[in-house]
Symmetry: C2
Subunit: 161 residues, 2 copies
């Protein structure tokens, strides 16, 4: 089934909320933050949060949210990426990442960074970032809590073959 990668639309919120809640990776607090960004993303402003939404057979299948790091001139953070748990293993996450990277390369971005946690629940998430060729660029031990490191993955977008 074809995958469409498109901008965020006002009607996407409830489908994205369902996907975030269905995802084992996110706490209630994290879902609340993700939804706040979606609400901000529906009123686009310069240098605000940006979105790519994956749609499959007319239904929202996942999304990615990213934005420019304040005070930087070409460094972006991936704030959120989520795919409907019923559609994992079909390469939708990989397509979302590629769509974000393509948009950023076109506008001359230098870095796409992803902050994540070292806790066991994020094992699959970290394996995903490694598969799509992100490297660990920083790690701060016991950052979130004892035993839960902060890890920053990154990919240079201005030095691709």
């Amino acid at each position: 089934m074809d995958l469409i990668l498109r901008d965020l639309r006002t009607g996407d919120r409830s489908a994205l909320e369902r996907i975030l809640l269905a995802s084992a990776a996110f706490s209630a607090e994290e879902v609340a933050v993700a939804l706040e960004l979606i609400d901000l993303g529906e009123e686009p402003v310069a240098d605000g949060y940006r979105f790519v939404v994956a749609e499959r057979g007319g239904a929202v299948a996942g999304y990615a949210c990213y934005g420019l790091v304040p005070l930087s001139d070409g460094c972006y953070d991936l704030y959120w990426i989520a795919v409907d748990p019923g559609l994992h293993g079909r390469g939708i996450g990989r397509r979302l990442m590629a769509a974000v990277e393509e948009r950023l390369v076109r506008q001359g971005a230098r870095w796409l960074l992803i902050e994540t946690a070292g806790k066991p629940e994020y094992e699959a998430t970290r394996a995903f970032y490694a598969r799509v060729r992100y490297q660990e660029v920083a790690r701060i031990p016991d950052f979130y809590r004892l035993g839960d490191d902060k890890i920053v993955y990154g990919k240079r977008l201005d030095r691709r073959p």
Copy 2:
């Protein structure tokens, strides 16, 4: 002359603005961000921005601003530290850092982190962090712009001799 280390007061804003503008280290954009945090700090909320103000002979001599990292249970960021340029070299910055650390140790904090930039204008700032025993815990090359790295300095507060 004695130094008093105290909480932020409503009347401090204009003195702090003068100190920030007089400091060669900060751009106009950075001063604006610092003042926004001061305005927020005057209306204290749980887990908001916190301040230590240094007062000398009845006049504000400098300040530090810090806060809990969202989603962490004991990791703090030092957002800002500034001392009146006419009063540099008297250990006021060191006293401000020590006051912040003491407050955090008392409440069981684990980390105090400081994000800064690798640009030459910040050389003196980085030397100051090294003098007060902060170590580089992460560095992302070309983060702010080409040639201007992001550097994170840190001190563990739960493992002191």
